[in-house]
């Protein structure tokens, strides 16, 4: 033990002396540098001494933790991988209606005949998507697009999809429907389509398409509300009891002179779509439908403030003795139409909606907005006028880049209360 203690004691002494020696040898060298500087007659010598000293202290540059994380982010292409995908696979939203719940989706997109990162879209493209939400909303689909055709700005697209929306809301027909009558139903459909999109001139878009639709209605799965078939019947919800297959043909035309369709400040878009739904199995639900969507953007003295105006109307016209199934009727409510009301709050054969929105640029990435919406649904086309419109109003924020819209938060009020609406898409 004594020996050990003696060794420890001696060791500590050696360490202490070592520190002292080291310190004495180090400090004089610093002092010498100071002395050298004081004695120096040339500034060049002083600076050379500084550099000599630094040469003894060189170390590799380092990144702080935050910088390290950002450097990693910069070089991992995380955002582009998420947005653009990996080997064609990417996250996909499923494009479900509001209220579908949290979901996850996988998309696949592959260009054929040209590199996937080309500045222009590839000549041909295959796409597929599969998405599912916690509330059971499901979508799966695939499409094949070819462009241009014969050198013209012509896209031909063939697609098919299956979707299942188990908690779609239905409040009953008409503007007088009551919010207490909220029910939900299952909408399920298989669809196959062929579409042609043609852009014959800079501002003009034309479209033609044919689809075969097999919609089916079932009981809603949202236990908070009754299922639609428990309150409503085929009279108050046409098509509730039986659903035919449809052959739908459509023609569309739009004149679009917005300065930037992804974040417009001036110009306008005036579009109309004519659809014919032919009941293929029951001969009870043949109808025509006209969708009119007019948008106008009026820049105030400079481009940093804009009045955005929109008028939209949907008119359906059943063949004699036929009806329009409730699930194909136009709706109002939600983030796109009459924002102070819930999604699908109003539904009937015809609809009219007017919107005025004052937008101002708070910064290059944030706009504020004040808006007022007014609209109605009617069973009879002759009632489609500006009387007895339901009104909603509110304010909102739009996050965008220099050139494109990113997300929109609207806080909307109406006679039925307050609704916050968050969308990751440009509406108008």
């Amino acid at each position: 033990m004594r020996f050990v203690h003696a060794l420890q004691s001696a060791g500590r002494s050696v360490v202490a002396v070592g520190v002292a020696l080291l310190t004495f040898f180090t400090v004089p060298s610093l002092a010498a540098a100071q002395e050298q500087e004081a004695k120096a007659t040339q500034r060049a010598d002083v600076l050379a001494a500084e550099r000599d000293k630094k040469a003894t202290e060189v170390a590799a540059p380092e990144r702080s933790n935050v910088e390290q994380a950002l450097y990693w982010y910069d070089n991992q292409y995380l955002f582009t991988r998420i947005m653009n995908g990996w080997k064609g696979f990417r996250l996909a939203s499923g494009q479900f209606p509001a209220g579908a719940g949290t979901g996850v989706g996988v998309g696949f997109k592959k260009g054929l005949g040209s590199p996937s990162n080309a500045l222009q879209q590839p000549r041909a493209e295959i796409e597929a998507i599969a998405a599912y939400t916690a509330r059971g909303y499901t979508r799966g689909g695939a499409a094949f697009t070819v462009r241009p055709i014969a050198g013209a700005a012509l896209d031909v697209r063939v697609s098919g999809q299956y979707y299942k929306f188990p908690q779609e809301d239905y409040f009953g027909p008409g503007q007088e429907s009551r919010s207490e009558d909220r029910t939900n139903y299952l909408l399920e459909s298989h669809e196959g389509s062929a579409d042609i999109l043609w852009k014959p001139a800079r501002f003009v878009d034309l479209g033609f398409g044919v689809s075969y639709l097999s919609p089916r209605i079932g009981s809603g799965t949202d236990s908070r509300y009754l299922s639609t078939d428990q309150i409503f019947d085929a009279k108050t919800a046409p098509g509730l009891d039986e659903q035919p297959d449809f052959l739908r043909g459509r023609l569309s035309a739009a004149f679009d002179w917005r300065d930037n369709p992804l974040h417009p400040h001036s110009g306008g878009r005036y579009g109309v779509e004519l659809s014919r739904y032919r009941d293929e199995t029951l001969n009870a639900y043949d109808f025509r439908r006209i969708d009119i969507d007019l948008q106008q953007y009026v820049p105030l003295p400079n481009r940093y403030r804009t009045i955005a105006l929109r008028a939209a109307a949907v008119i359906t016209d059943p063949q004699s003795g036929n009806d329009v199934p409730f699930y194909f009727q136009p709706t109002l409510g939600g983030s796109r139409m009459l924002r102070g009301f819930r999604e699908f709050r109003f539904r009937d054969r015809n609809s009219l909606m007017l919107t005025a929105e004052y937008r101002w640029e708070a910064s290059w990435l944030l706009d504020g907005a004040l808006f007022v919406d007014a609209g109605k649904v009617t069973g009879d086309r002759s009632d489609l006028n500006f009387r007895d419109l339901d009104v909603s109003y509110g304010f909102g924020f739009r996050v965008h880049s220099n050139s494109a819209f990113v997300t929109r938060l609207d806080l909307a009020f109406s006679r039925e209360g307050f609704i916050p609406l968050l969308r990751f898409e440009h509406v108008f």
């Binding site: 610093l30 500087e37 120096a40 000599d52 540059p61 590199p115 500045l119 910064s363 290059w364 504020g368």
Partner: protein
């Protein structure tokens, strides 16, 4: 045992005491050493002048060992400077000589500011040849940094160039502003790449063996000629179908990263001045404002390990001027550019909660309609309002002395020089070139006027022999440049200087000068061991329109056995109060 333990304790206590003494000595002296190391300019208690002052060459091009490449994050500086503060060293610029000038270094080479340059020399700029050689250009890669569509080529001489394409809607815009900017920055004294405007036929291009492209997903694959054709698909064409682009020659040496605008590079022994205290980086703000170089940031710089005369060292370059003047690289400059940071919380809040009634004044700026000019103008531009994309630490440290230095160089660009520089942009529309020249001249006028007159603008100090004796003569830059009326007066106060200690003593009372010259009194301080004596003149300028000029310029004279020269000039920085000689 007791005595042994006592002896052991004694040994240890003695060693401990010695250690503490040594540490105490080290702690007491080391900070002093550090403080004097670089900030001697500020120290009044230290030797102020050396025999070789003023130095015009900072020998920071000493041979150093190879350094590893260290790339900066593309986004860190934005995040850090927007939401934090990176500057650790505040005060006057450190890398200046005693005449308040920037010596030549691996960062800067005095050109137009110190010497006369011909228009041909200015137009030649940094370029060592005529650009990519004719013949086949081999596409060697496609850098994924930056937003400009670009790819690299190797010409038949083996030189590598970066080819930057103009955007379809703004033909000639980025390429012209980039070339114009390199001419100006080079004439000022910065290291910049050799840039050329070229036109080429796509058939000139073929893909080099092994050339790769990084996809949007981050993965790499071989470049195909179809890729190249795609890149060129939207590039604007000249009347004869060729593509106009910018060819930027690879800088010499091995690129080892970029430099920060704060701190020093720890693996470069030559780099001893914190970058935020480098005059040429702080004063760069003046030139950046002139040229609307709002993209002046670390990732737009290059550190290159070069070899010159057998010495290997890091040379520092400015690069990527595609967002200068009216250009935004892939479009026109954003109207906000140069007026507002990307993120300014108070302005965003005002903008948001005023419902659009709060308007940034820059929204009133009107820009030329010509797409080859983009969003640049000179009527609304005000130098003091100008900003980079986000706070730039060295720019924010710029003081009046830095800006006077820079503005003095800007003032050296004559109108014919600017006209010739604008022509290097090779705009196809002569009217656009005329407008750009006019804008450049008027913006130059504004930065010169603002920053020259912001501080006491005395310069061109010299010793003259007259019949009455020896006098210190000087000039007033603001009056010379017709930025101020030729009125006002000057007051000199003389002090003797003990250069060994830095002690100054008032000598006589204030002297009102009859003009821009002062008789040198016998105000010399004690001789140093070499027999050299020093005197200091504090010269105020009294001008009715510029009260700030009362802050004196400190001029130090050196008397070497009767041979007198001006060895020191210290300009007011704007931070100090008026000097009272009795304080010394």
């Amino acid at each position: 045992m007791s005595s042994k333990r006592t002896l052991g304790y004694r040994h240890r206590r003695a060693a401990l005491a010695a250690s503490l003494l040594a540490l105490g000595f080290a702690l007491a002296t080391a900070p002093g050493i550090v403080a004097q190391r670089l900030e001697k300019t500020d120290a009044r208690d230290a030797k102020r002048f050396y025999a070789d002052d003023p130095v015009w060459r900072d020998h920071d091009m000493r041979d150093i060992r190879p350094v590893a490449e260290f790339d900066l994050s593309k986004s860190y500086e934005f995040v850090h400077e927007t939401f934090g503060e990176s500057v650790r060293s505040h005060g006057r610029a450190l890398n200046i000589n005693t005449l308040d000038e920037v010596p030549d270094s691996s960062w800067f080479t005095n050109r137009l500011g110190r010497f006369d340059m011909t228009i041909d020399e200015i137009v030649q700029g940094p370029n060592q040849n005529d650009g990519p050689a004719a013949g086949t250009w081999l596409v060697t890669g496609r850098p994924d940094s930056g937003i400009t569509p670009k790819f690299s080529i190797r010409d038949s001489r083996g030189d590598t160039y970066l080819i930057k394409l103009d955007p379809a809607n703004f033909p000639e815009l980025p390429s012209s502003v980039e070339v114009i900017s390199t001419k100006i920055f080079h004439a000022i004294g910065y290291h910049v790449p050799e840039d050329f405007i070229v036109t080429f036929d796509p058939s000139q291009l073929s893909v080099a063996e092994g050339a790769q492209i990084r996809m949007d997903t981050g993965e790499k694959r071989a470049i195909r000629i179809s890729d190249v054709n795609k890149w060129l698909e939207h590039a604007p064409r000249t009347a004869d179908g060729r593509i106009r682009a910018l060819a930027s020659r690879w800088v010499p040496g091995k690129v080892v990263g970029q430099f920060r605008f704060t701190g020093t590079r720890p693996d470069d022994p030559n780099d001893i001045y914190p970058h935020e205290r480098r005059r040429e980086l702080r004063g760069l703000k003046v030139f950046a404002a002139w040229l609307n170089h709002d993209d002046a940031r670390s990732i737009n710089s290059i550190d290159s390990y070069v070899e010159v005369d057998g010495r290997r060292f890091i040379r520092h370059y400015l690069q990527d001027f595609g967002s200068n003047l009216g250009s935004g690289s892939t479009s026109a400059q954003q109207p906000r550019g140069g007026y507002e940071y990307l993120i300014e919380g108070d302005k965003i809040a005002k903008g948001l909660f005023s419902f659009g009634l709060y308007r940034r004044d820059w929204t009133n700026a009107r820009y030329p309609a010509d797409p080859s000019l983009g969003n640049i103008e000179a009527d609304f531009f005000e130098p003091w309002k100008w900003k980079t994309e986000y706070p730039q630490p060295a720019f924010n440290q710029m003081d009046d002395a830095d800006s006077f230095w820079a503005a003095s160089i800007a003032a050296r660009f004559t109108d014919p020089m600017i006209r010739a520089i604008a022509a290097t942009g090779r705009l196809s529309n002569p009217e656009a070139e005329r407008k750009l020249t006019d804008i450049l001249i008027r913006r130059r006028n504004k930065v010169v006027e603002y920053w020259i007159t912001k501080t006491n603008p005395l310069d061109r100090f010299e010793i003259r022999q007259t019949a009455a004796g020896t006098e210190l003569a000087f000039d007033n830059a603001a009056i010379r440049l017709q930025l101020a009326s030729p009125t006002g007066s000057y007051v000199a106060r003389w002090l003797s200087l003990d250069n060994a200690t830095g002690t100054e003593r008032l000598n006589g009372s204030d002297v009102s000068l009859a003009g821009a010259h002062a008789q040198i009194p016998d105000a010399w301080g004690p001789a140093d061991p070499a027999g050299v004596r020093y005197a200091v003149a504090l010269i105020e300028t009294n001008h009715p329109d510029f009260p700030a000029w009362k802050r004196p310029v400190r001029v130090t004279l050196r008397n070497r056995n009767g041979a007198i020269d001006v060895v020191g000039i210290e300009r007011p920085t704007g931070a100090e109060q008026r000097v009272n000689a009795t304080d010394h």
